[in-house]
């Protein structure tokens, strides 16, 4: 269902998510993000949503919580690769203005 991969790019951590993000899988995703944030203390956390076909409100909540926890460590959260369906959800909830959103992972890693 959900495929999550993490890797380091210098001082940045990249989390790549593929599949449907809904309340059935948020626990799994929450653990991965929490582990990444607490063990790597990344200056920049990039979450790549390119392969996400659907995200529900619990998934959005998770991303908001991720931003808050990165903020606490004086880091930044960049999202990238939002497919149209996901972009629509972000637009509707105004989260496009709440997160720093980039077109590609390269942009997200470069973005200040």
């Amino acid at each position: 269902m959900l495929n999550i991969q993490t890797r380091q790019e210098g001082t940045a951590s990249v989390v790549t998510i593929q599949g449907k993000v809904n309340f059935e899988v948020t626990a799994q995703l929450r653990d991965v993000i929490r582990d990444t944030v607490t063990t790597q203390l990344p200056k920049l956390l990039v979450i790549n949503l390119e392969g996400v076909s659907f995200i529900d409100s619990s998934g959005l909540g998770l991303l908001v919580a991720a931003r808050n926890s990165v903020d606490k460590n004086a880091g930044k959260l960049h999202l990238c690769g939002l497919p149209p369906q996901v972009k629509k959800t972000f637009d509707q909830t105004n989260l496009t203005n709440y997160f720093s959103i980039f077109a590609t992972e390269q942009d997200a890693l470069r973005g200040a």
Partner: protein, 386 residues
């Protein structure tokens, strides 16, 4: 010391005596019977933990006795050891097929029997423990089910009684929580100026937590409408209330609206919620989406909200809903979506009750055979005057 009650059934008195002697010495209580029929009579007085029964006996032989015991729900859990003179695998399998838990071959050593008895009581002990735990779990589950159904009743009491009328609005609804209890809520309240305040909200997550927050959302809305007549101020106030009192990942999407008497417009705020649909009385085949970009409530205290407005004439109709109605994934990966629902809204019967029933039926048919998976709320409001 009482280690348990053993019933020994054998037509030969010396065998009963020997087994009785060893069992009592080992600390067991013993009942004796010379055949199956007598054994059943004894069992009417007290129920043994373990039965050791001979196979060949007059009146009621061991196989028939065993079947009687294992066929009765009241006694079938009693551990049954069948003693048989035939020491062949055929008779052994035969005995176990009758439902006996174990077999002993004749002639036997008393020590062998005692070892089997000890092992039988270990199993009996475990079975009793499992039964005890199972009972505890069953009771717990029964209590939770009862409490949940009570909570569900209370929660549906939080919704307005529909169909109903507030100020110049007549409303109908359908409310289908996914788990008996859910995070959807809506409210239609009269304003001091003779107008009406409208709110529909969908709390993130499911079940009891979402239900508790939905009650908070309703309370907060009820408080806010007394403080101002601006949906934007209501959204800001509710956002503050929720941001302060909920956990990190919990928030609510909402559509808040205000209808003023004599003013043929509706003022509204979209807080991350699905657009509402206005069906103009003048052109019911052309619904209009009242959408907007807005943050969900409870995300962050300091976020701003935007108030919009649209025509809302007497005779116009407003459709509000939560995303559970349109976000069911079909086998072919298609969703009904807002656009699909808007299509249904273009062809509604004039009667409000019939209209909500028709929308729900059409949405169900679209998703079929998949059921709704999230909480579903659908509200229809007709502006009947003012």
């Amino acid at each position: 010391m009482n280690k348990g009650l053993v019933l020994v059934v054998d037509d030969e008195a010396p065998i009963r005596d020997i087994l009785s002697f060893y069992l009592k010495r080992a600390g067991y209580q013993v009942m004796l019977a010379e055949n199956g029929r007598r054994a059943l009579e004894e069992m009417a007085k007290s129920s043994p933990d373990l039965i050791i029964s001979d196979l060949r006996m007059p009146e009621m032989p061991g196989d028939e006795f065993c079947q009687t015991i294992k066929g009765d729900p009241a006694t079938r859990d009693i551990y049954f050891v069948l003693v048989s003179a035939m020491d062949g695998s055929a008779s052994r399998i035969g005995g176990l097929n009758l439902g006996a838990d174990d077999m002993i071959a004749k002639p036997f050593h008393a020590q062998e029997v005692m070892a089997k008895v000890a092992s039988a009581f270990r199993i009996i002990g475990m079975q009793k423990e499992i039964k005890r735990q199972n009972l505890t779990l069953t009771r717990f589950q029964e209590r939770m089910t009862a409490e949940l159904s009570l909570a569900a009743k209370l929660q549906s009491g939080l919704l307005p009684e529909a169909p109903g009328e507030v100020a110049c609005l007549r409303y109908h609804h359908r409310y289908l929580p996914a788990e008996g209890i859910g995070g959807d809520i809506y409210s239609v309240l009269p304003l001091a100026n003779g107008g009406a305040a409208i709110m529909i909200a969908d709390v993130s997550g499911h079940g009891v937590t979402a239900a508790l927050i939905s009650a908070m959302v309703k309370t907060s809305f009820g408080n806010q409408i007394h403080l101002s007549d601006s949906p934007r101020a209501w959204a800001e106030g509710m956002n503050r209330d929720l941001a302060r009192s909920t956990l990190e990942e919990q928030f609510a999407t909402a559509f808040l609206a205000c209808v003023d008497p004599g003013n043929h417009r509706i003022r509204y705020v979209v807080a991350g919620h699905e657009p509402a649909f206005r069906i103009p009385a003048a052109s019911p085949g052309k619904p209009e989406a009242l959408g907007g970009r807005g943050f969900m409530l409870g995300l962050d205290e300091s976020l701003p909200f935007e108030e919009l407005s649209a025509p809302f004439e007497p005779g116009d109709r407003l459709i509000l809903y939560t995303d559970g109605l349109v976000e069911v994934e079909r086998e072919d990966r298609k969703y009904l979506g807002n656009d699909g629902l808007m299509g249904y809204c273009a062809e509604l019967p004039r009667d409000g009750e019939e209209a909500v029933a028709q929308i729900l039926e059409q949405a169900r048919a679209f998703h079929s055979p998949n059921p709704f998976v999230d909480d579903v709320t659908l509200v229809l409001l007709d502006r009947v005057g003012c």
